[in-house]
């Protein structure tokens, strides 16, 4: 049953999108958590976000196994839901079929009505009226290389959208398995930004495109600095994606999905790498990895995380996030239904939820 609570300013909210419904966790102190859900019981929620730029609008990517994908939004934290008047649907003439909605990303602070969505087949949709009507980005849809784009295991999905806060004309997209795509002209054209990122599964290990970028984030103070977790390593760019450096260092695997950073100390970055074939923790210790120096060195975080021969956890690309509190909270949702939370920037962890359906995403917000 959906909640009817209104949440006071300062409440920390974690939205967990799962294979079977949306769960909403709230806390005033990040120690004691209240769980509400499942909201949209039985629905497959790939992602959820709370847009607080103009009110409090909760968006979800609702991907049904049987009956199609819909973007929905709620202005009362899930009590009631609305759909766009003109939603995310391709034209009949395009021949395209919407498979899944992967990402819903609010735009810049100074454009509060703008919100973006990424889908499979890889396309960018944008709304300039807070989600009521949606338009397809035509330049990406007709990109001249498009017929050579190939899907990753999760599909040909556009899963990461980064509107540059410093430049209204610049934006980055992450597409599996195409890589990083950038516009410098407000979406009128798109170029690849994959130099020096590897594609071990291709004959040419360093192609112009075809990389399997898994997740990417932007430094909130130095807009040209980007971090990405890739199918084949972790990378840092210091020049807006013009080129990348392999920053794996001591990480025990190239393969991982999520990446997140501390908004107050953005050289602090978190990632989780896995055994690339098993897609679980590399050793018997479930480990989250942290750098304090922009990926130059890595440390292991295990305090409060489980270990043992039966501990084999997987975390998907949207399965880790940070909040905007200080010290930052870090949240990790597993594909076996646990949520681990840290209120001290990763130094220690607590299990705040268990036995949930498989978790596809976690996103965290401090209620304004």
């Amino acid at each position: 049953m959906a909640n009817t609570t209104s949440y006071p300013s300062g409440t920390v909210m974690v939205l967990a999108g799962t294979k079977r419904g949306l769960f909403l966790f709230t806390s005033r102190d990040r120690q004691t958590w209240t769980c509400e859900g499942p909201i949209l019981k039985g629905h497959t929620i790939y992602y959820a976000t709370l847009d607080q730029r103009s009110g409090r609008r909760l968006f979800v990517a609702d991907n049904g196994v049987f009956f199609g994908s819909f973007l929905r939004y709620s202005d009362d934290f899930g009590d009631t839901w609305q759909e766009p008047e003109r939603g995310i649907q391709f034209s009949e003439e395009s021949g395209e079929k919407l498979k899944n909605i992967w990402m819903i990303e609010p735009g810049r602070r100074e454009e509060p009505g703008t919100i973006y969505a990424g889908v499979d087949p890889a396309n960018l949709w944008e709304s300039h009226d807070s989600g009521v009507t949606w338009e397809l980005n035509a330049a990406l849809a007709s990109h001249p290389t498009r017929e050579h784009w190939n899907p990753g295991a999760g599909g040909l999905c556009l899963h990461t959208i980064i509107p540059d806060y410093s430049n209204p004309k610049r934006m980055w997209l992450g597409i599996s398995a195409v890589g990083c795509v950038r516009t410098d002209d407000g979406g009128a054209s798109w170029t690849f930004a994959n130099k020096n990122t590897r594609a071990d599964f291709q004959p040419d290990k360093y192609p112009e495109f075809g990389q399997c970028l898994h997740r990417m984030v932007q430094h909130p103070q130095q807009p040209d600095v980007l971090y990405q977790q890739n199918h084949c390593g972790v990378y840092r760019s210091m020049n807006g994606g013009d080129d990348w450096a392999d920053m794996r260092g001591s990480l025990p695997s190239d393969f991982g999905f999520p990446i997140a950073l501390d908004p107050h100390a953005p050289e602090t970055v978190f990632t989780i790498v896995e055994d690339g074939e098993a897609r679980q923790n590399v050793t018997e210790q479930f480990t989250i990895y942290r750098t304090r120096d922009g990926m130059e060195t890595w440390e292991t975080l295990t305090n409060g995380l489980p270990s043992g021969p039966g501990v084999r956890l997987g975390v998907l690309r949207h399965g880790m996030t940070t909040d905007s509190a200080d010290p930052c909270g870090v949240y990790v949702g597993t594909n076996t239904g646990q949520i681990f939370a840290s209120a001290d920037c990763g130094d220690s962890w607590r299990l705040i939820a268990d036995f949930l359906p498989s978790i596809y995403s976690v996103s965290a917000f401090v209620i304004e």
Partner: protein, 98 residues
């Protein structure tokens, strides 16, 4: 029956998952000479219902099954299967899971 009505409405039985589109009704009525026309009529009355059933291309979704008077339209003429006057049309998701 009014002889000016060319096509009598069919009774359409919906799964629970789609009843959110119809205000909770599990049975609704609609008119259409074929299944595709019936879906168009349903979508006009209950916006969004059609997209649950068919892709943008008009193709029936793979895990949606539609039965006209008990016969699966996949083994008839698909979406062009005729809907006789007063037909009973049942929409079901495929069996999934263990």
């Amino acid at each position: 029956m009014d002889p000016t009505i060319a096509v009598a409405e069919a009774r359409v039985f919906l799964p629970t998952a789609l009843a959110e589109r119809t205000g909770g009704q599990r049975m609704v009525t609609a008119a259409g000479g074929s299944v595709s026309e019936l879906i168009a009529a349903l979508d006009a009355r209950y916006p969004g219902l059609g997209f649950h059933l068919c892709y943008e291309t008009g193709e029936l979704r793979p895990f949606v099954n539609i039965f006209v008077n008990g016969a699966n339209i996949r083994y008839l003429r698909g979406l062009e299967t005729a809907v006789p006057p007063g037909a009973s049309v049942t929409i079901l998701p495929s069996v999934a899971g263990g």
